[in-house]
């Protein structure tokens, strides 16, 4: 239980929110309540008791690493982190959120043009037309000539 207490202290330092006294209760029932750290505490339990110091250090490191990887694992791709536009810590936002956002209005045209010439003078409409042409392009796949393959492709595209 020694290493377990140590781990709990370390976590409370990391959290800086809850009091140490609360966290030090080494009851089994308190474990599942700490949902974000429950995985690490399980790891700590699995380590042999003989390696008290090492295990606790590892556990603390592990929890720190886990906290870091929680934030960064999505971005470990070929795309460098400094090229991400906007705040990557911001929570997930849905389309209804963007409806409220006023900055979107700058990209949109309020008028509905009646001729192509009018539309071509507006970035938003050029984008809209390009989007449509891209859609046509995507539909012109290889081997779509026959009805059967077209149908197959269609359902594949829809993820069915």
């Amino acid at each position: 239980m020694q290493d377990f207490n140590f781990l709990l202290q370390g976590e409370s330092i990391l959290e800086q929110g809850e009091s140490v006294a609360d966290m030090q209760v080494p009851e089994d029932t308190s474990e599942p309540d700490q949902t974000p750290e429950s995985e690490e505490s399980l790891e700590a339990e699995l380590t042999p008791e003989a390696q008290d110091e090492v295990a606790s250090d590892e556990a603390q490191d592990g929890s720190q690493q886990a906290n870091q990887s929680k934030n960064t694992f999505k971005y470990k791709s070929s795309h460098p982190e400094d090229q991400i536009i906007g705040n990557k810590e911001s929570p997930r936002r849905t389309r209804s959120y963007f409806r409220q956002e006023e900055s979107m209005i700058g990209l949109l045209s309020v008028i509905e043009p009646t001729t192509v010439d009018e539309a071509l003078s507006d970035d938003g409409w050029i984008l809209a037309m390009q989007e449509k042409l891209n859609q046509f392009q995507r539909m012109m796949c290889v081997g779509c000539g026959t009805q059967a393959s077209a149908e197959e492709h269609y359902w594949n595209k829809m993820g069915i």
Partner: protein, 145 residues
């Protein structure tokens, strides 16, 4: 979608046109600009460019009937939507359309498109989509009641 072919002689070439629509949200604000390429179906000739145009659609009264029937019998109803349904309908006639206005191929501005799929505005578009959908449903053991 289409094959690009040189302009054929003695064939009716149907013009195309861009139609621009704004999509609004519940508050009536513009949230999206949508462009649609339509064929000018009024210049289609019956018997050459199209034959059958009849297509059944669901009337609101029919939907209401279905709903009340389902409520009475405790049935579970499912619904689905097909995205850009017309553009996925297969065309059976030989139809040529002009290139989209202001998006013509600069090297070959006189080429035309021989359609393989439907475009909005074609006379046979609703019918051809209905054919495709009903064929699929019948093939999957649905019955016409």
């Amino acid at each position: 979608m289409w094959d690009v072919v040189p302009k054929p002689q003695q064939k009716n070439i149907i013009g195309t046109k861009w139609v621009f629509r704004n999509k609004l949200n519940e508050q009536g604000e513009v949230v999206r600009n949508k462009a649609r390429l339509v064929a000018q179906g009024y210049s289609q000739q019956e018997g050459i460019d199209y034959t059958e145009t009849l297509a059944p659609v669901a009337r609101l009264e029919a939907i209401r009937l279905l709903l009340s029937y389902a409520v009475n019998h405790g049935l579970i109803l499912y619904q689905m939507d097909v995205k850009s349904a017309f553009l996925n309908g297969v065309i059976s006639e030989e139809v040529f359309v002009k290139q989209p206005p202001d998006f013509e191929d600069l090297k070959h501005p006189n080429n035309v498109y021989k359609l393989k799929k439907l475009l909005h505005g074609l006379k046979q578009a609703p019918r051809a989509w209905y054919d495709r959908l009903s064929n699929f449903l019948i093939k999957n053991d649905f019955k016409i009641g």
